[in-house]
Symmetry: C2
Subunit: 325 residues, 2 copies
């Protein structure tokens, strides 16, 4: 098996220069870097990260725990986390908790026994009491944990305000907000608070309809949406707490013969691919997912290096107008 | 720091029983397993997988390389790969190649230097010549590589036949297939072959329209679809090579005032979430993604244990009828 020395010999560089390329330390010209990579390929040399990790008692791997990989919001978030991690020469170990408590604990165990550099825990995963006793940074996205290292959120309150304001400006006067899961305290709950605030101030009639955990777990809302529309026939504006719910709402409207945006206007939340793939495409509140992922990765790495990082950070959202309003 | 011995002492079990629980070897009652887990939690004991990996010169981590995490097909595939890996006590190290050759090589390097148990490479990622010289199993999904360990595909030919047959049965007589990327040989190309075969046999007029790499890379097809519909006004049935393309086609039809399914019938491919989230929902050819993921993980693990595995496996597809036909 080829060694670092062989690579140095092949390139005519010193061992320490080759080592600097591999560890991405100090200034290295693009030409030198390429020379080293070419020699590594030619000699089939693979530095053993596992051995290196053992000596450091840590790896450059970040454990990412999401409730659903297939949910369009989490797919988008994972994609951004992977890109950002890559910028910092880190990799992503991905875990799908699917809301099962026992599975989540096993994941934490796996993260810990693999000596990850840190963990990024995303909204919706349950059971927070287990997160004590971890010796690595724990960064949360759209979720707050008291003993976490850093929480990165979007401005959910502002998002709720923007959605209500927009629907009222478009002439809606019987508003409904379809909120997150009953009985779980999440930053996303502030969407309902911002929405209610603007409705009250404007004297517009509104209600907030909660959803259930099993709907979230199965990504299936058609039944509850149909019931809601039938029971509230005067509704002319709906703010859904995700684009996924908004897309299903569009389907229920088509089934019931309610035309969007003429009879009913809809605003979603997230601005993930599904929002621009429906007909009409969905007006939505855009979460700055890329920036959230960037901060989450940076905080995790900085905290691991012993730096002090903000324990709670909020990023602004914006309204993206499309066909449903 | 707690040791294996401490866990054994705490539970009253022998060290070898605790070790069997941790390595999931032999019969262990649920009660014993729980007792060990409880003691591990209580003592904050984390077996060091990194050290264990070093002695084995391999880890229970599978490197998964996809071109786009955010593409609904790959999000679904990753989700299933993670679940299947979990069944086998393996984890997923996720890489987004986004079609960049140089990035892909770095990923392979990362996989190799982290001593992964194997690599699962998904369709669309480019540059196959680099995959020689790997000492771990390489399983491909919807892609064939001559020196790969195992290729798992769906029956693309059958999918193309099913789509054409269905459109013809519904009365279409001017068919178009929107195929994969020009100039890259992929198993998915057989969709066009199956489609063309049935059209020719039935004497139905058809054409195959290719797409470009930059469209695939940006997941953006609106422009090419609008041009296609304008240049071929008689088209009454389209078979799109992904649900993502079919969803964008629905939007272009709405823009051009073409009613679906009355004037134009559409069949997609994949049957991922987007297919059931549009209005109308998309008739599509269902890939058995769960089963494909299951086989890919099983082949990877078996090959790693020195077993002989099939080097090419095809799974059947099926037609799911929805609103676009």
């Amino acid at each position: 098996m080829a060694t670092l020395k062989d690579v140095a010999k092949e390139t005519g560089l010193t061992v320490s220069t080759v080592s600097r390329v591999l560890n991405n330390r100090g200034y290295i010209s693009e030409e030198t870097r390429q020379k080293v990579y070419d020699a590594m390929k030619k000699l089939n040399y693979h530095p053993n990260e596992v051995a290196r990790s053992l000596s450091k008692q840590s790896t450059n791997t970040i454990g990412v725990i999401v409730p659903h990989i297939r949910h369009p919001y989490f797919a988008e978030l994972i994609s951004n986390l992977e890109s950002q991690a890559y910028q910092h020469k880190h990799k992503i170990l991905l875990f799908n908790s699917q809301e099962k408590n026992e599975k989540e604990w096993e994941y934490l165990e796996m993260c810990s026994s693999n000596r990850v550099a840190g963990i990024i825990l995303c909204s919706g995963t349950v059971g927070v009491e287990e997160f004590t006793g971890l010796n690595v940074p724990l960064v949360t996205i759209e979720r707050y944990i008291e003993n976490g290292t850093a929480a990165v959120e979007c401005d959910n309150m502002q998002g709720g305000r923007l959605a209500a304001k927009h629907l009222i400006e478009r002439g809606c006067c019987h508003l409904v907000h379809i909120s997150g899961v009953h009985g779980t305290a999440m930053p996303a709950d502030d969407r309902a608070a911002g929405f209610a605030e603007v409705c009250s101030q404007s004297g517009v009639e509104y209600q907030v309809a909660g959803t259930e955990a099993y709907q979230y777990n199965n990504l299936e809302y058609h039944e509850v949406l149909e019931k809601l529309l039938k029971e509230n026939p005067k509704t002319d504006g709906i703010f859904a707490s995700s684009d996924l719910i908004a897309a299903q709402l569009l389907q229920v409207c088509a089934k019931l013969g309610i035309s969007v945006p003429e009879q009913l206007k809809i605003v979603g939340f997230d601005d993930v691919n599904i929002a621009s793939l429906t007909t009409p495409p969905i007006t939505t509140v855009r979460q700055p997912v890329k920036e959230m992922a960037k901060l989450a990765v940076e905080f995790l790495i900085s905290a691991g290096e012993g730096e002090v990082v903000p324990n709670r950070t909020t990023l602004p959202v914006s309204l993206v107008e499309r066909g449903t309003t």
